[in-house]
């Protein structure tokens, strides 16, 4: 899982640099936001010239799931408010998955979460800088298909996250709806609208529990 962070973080640095973001902006994203999928989404939206409220709304929707994760972790964090708020800053899907597994095995030590989550944070930032420094040496983006790397990363993230039939249906519906809106000239709201509407489909799909 720690290796995965490098494998995703380095491409993030590369595509962010190729999209024309300044090094300080790229580093600030990883230091202050620290959310992989959101940061890739931001790079694409910056490249498309989206307005800042659209970018912030997209990031909010991508990260809303963390409310559920924090709610599941909270009973195990019998510590001061300050410490809980610190734990929240490094909450990621990966840290959540490791911590919830740990607590379910009956363990209670919070040092496990802290160590793992902070290691992820440091690795993500290191990987960002490595990718950012390598970015300019990769050459003219369109010619080598590098402009497609960010799209390919989104597709790969979605495929890795498919656990049920409804996941695949929602993803395809969101992609088609966003493309249709973009083709009709509504590219500003395409992502937020398609991304917020498509998940409503799960309420109409009956399928089994996650495998």
């Amino acid at each position: 899982m720690l290796i995965t962070v490098l494998v995703v973080g380095i491409p993030f640095g590369i595509v962010a640099r190729q999209a024309g973001l300044a090094p300080a902006e790229i580093v600030a994203m990883s230091v202050f936001i620290f959310a992989g999928a959101s940061q890739f989404a931001m790079v694409q939206l910056f490249r498309d010239g989206a307005a800042w409220p659209v970018i912030v709304a997209t990031v909010l929707l991508i990260n809303l799931r963390h409310v559920l994760m924090a709610a599941a972790l909270r009973p195990h964090f019998d510590v001061s408010v300050a410490r809980r708020l610190a734990a929240a800053f490094v909450l990621t899907d990966e840290a959540f998955a490791m911590a919830i597994g740990w607590f379910r095995r009956g363990r209670t030590e919070l040092a496990y979460y802290a160590t793992f989550a902070v290691a992820l944070y440091l690795l993500w930032n290191t990987a960002t800088v490595i990718g950012m420094l390598a970015g300019p040496s990769i050459g003219e983006p369109r010619r080598f298909g590098v402009d497609f790397a960010i799209t390919a990363t989104f597709v790969a993230i979605v495929v890795l996250g498919v656990r049920r039939r409804s996941d695949a249906i929602v993803a395809v519906a969101a992609a088609l709806l966003a493309a249709a809106l973009a083709a009709l000239g509504a590219s500003v709201i395409a992502v937020v609208a398609a991304g917020a509407l498509a998940p409503l489909l799960v309420l109409f799909i009956r399928d089994g529990r996650a495998a």
Binding site: S38, F46, L60, L85, A173, L181, A182, V191, A194, G195
Partner: protein, 102 residues
Amino acid sequence: MTWLAIAGSAVVTYVVRAFAFRVALPSGLPRGVSRYLDALPAAIIAALAGPAILVPGGAPTRGPELAAAIVVVAVVAWRRNLLLGVLSGVATVAVLRLVLAA
């Protein structure tokens, strides 16, 4: 502009992470709500990819992007490897664009 987007994104990301750590939610959200929230991130990410695959640069694709997306789905579904999938997709796009330009 860029800095506003970064600062705003940092704030909303932290607020959603901290919210339930600070405020105890009533246990057991309605099942529909949790399923919706669960499906949301993948839908947003797919919505980001959709236009770049089907209408790259605002015009319908001539094929390379769609073919490459299919390659990425196949490779990632088969090997469960993100990097391998991305590299195959980039290579597919590069080769097909060269072929179409020839």
